[in-house]
Amino acid sequence: MSETADRVKKIVVEHLGVEADKVTEDASFIDDLGADSLDIVELVMAFEEEFGVEIPDDAAEKISTVKDAITYIDEHKG
């Protein structure tokens, strides 16, 4: 598992208050982890802060699973 994945999962666990073993790469934030749309906004803000990346709204809208987030961050972090 990549370092990005570890950090992403840690943020998800903290923000959504879910069990770490539920945060698999295929897990959907909304369908599997109980997030609502406002939680997604907050997660994106937290990812931006943690990784120093900017995630524009159109990209943020496409992030629906843990893996989507990890992939986007790996492709865009400096």
């Binding site: 406002l38 906004v41 907050e42 803000m45």
Partner: protein
């Protein structure tokens, strides 16, 4: 009660009649303020009068880019943002049939769109902090209408609906979004009314007098306070009884 010590607030239109009263009220309860207004000199003088812990941030609210930059400027100057008071407002009165496009646009842009942009920007630090108070100054005419003010009434009614939507979006993060609706208040805006119209107005106000900036400031202080945390999506009417809604 209503102690704002340790809290910070951004107030737009802060050098105007109602705005300066709101700023004084918040500062008197202990808040540190970012004072915004379009007239930099007037704003600086008011800041000097209020005290050195406050900052003056001139901003043209009809300029979208400047509006978008205002909350980040306030957060940088104050270290955080607990309270946003959308007070700035303009009028361009005219009968609808004679109303120019730019009279409509200017009022909607400053009174409604700038408020939206500021709330959108402020929601970010407030969500992170899990605390926020947004208070927008609307008007009794947003509820009752007023001939010659289609643009102004639309902008003020718009603030009420927008605040209700945002109150629902942000309530779970301990951010409240409310409005204060002044009736007729002694200010530059009502100072220009002809005497006959002013007398006619007084006849419609059960309290028999125009309101003061302090009357509005007290309502804003309440909604900005920690104690008002369970009040959201509401409009507090401060109008001497002239409209009961």
């Amino acid at each position: 009660m209503f102690d704002l010590t340790g809290m910070t607030a951004l107030v737009t239109g802060a050098s105007g009649g109602i705005g300066s009263a709101i700023a004084r009220g918040l500062a008197a309860q202990g808040a540190r303020l970012a004072l915004s207004g379009s007239n930099a000199d007037k704003l600086e003088r008011f800041r000097d009068e209020l005290g050195g812990e406050h900052v003056a941030l001139a901003c043209d609210l009809s300029d979208a880019a400047a509006v978008d930059a205002l909350v980040p400027r306030a957060v940088e100057a104050l270290g955080k943002l607990d309270v946003l008071v959308n007070n700035a407002g303009v009028t361009r009165d005219n009968l609808a049939m004679r109303m120019k496009d730019d009279e409509w646009d200017q009022v909607i842009r400053v009174n409604l769109e700038a408020a939206f942009r500021l709330i959108r920007a402020a929601a970010k630090p407030m969500m992170k902090a899990r605390f926020g108070r947004v208070v927008s100054i609307t008007s009794v005419v947003g509820q009752t209408g007023n001939p010659g003010q289609a643009n102004y009434a639309a902008s003020k009614a718009g603030l009420v609906g927008m605040s209700k939507a945002l109150a629902q979006e942000l309530a779970s993060r301990n951010i409240t979004v409310n409005c204060v609706a002044p009736g007729f208040i002694r200010s530059a805006m009502t100072g220009v009314l002809p005497e006959a119209q002013k007398n006619a107005l007084l006849g419609r106000i059960p309290a028999g007098d125009l309101g003061s900036g302090e009357d509005i400031a007290a309502a804003v202080v309440y909604l900005a306070s920690r104690e008002a945390g369970y009040v959201t999506g509401q409009t507090l009417h401060v109008n001497g009884g002239m409209a009961m809604v």
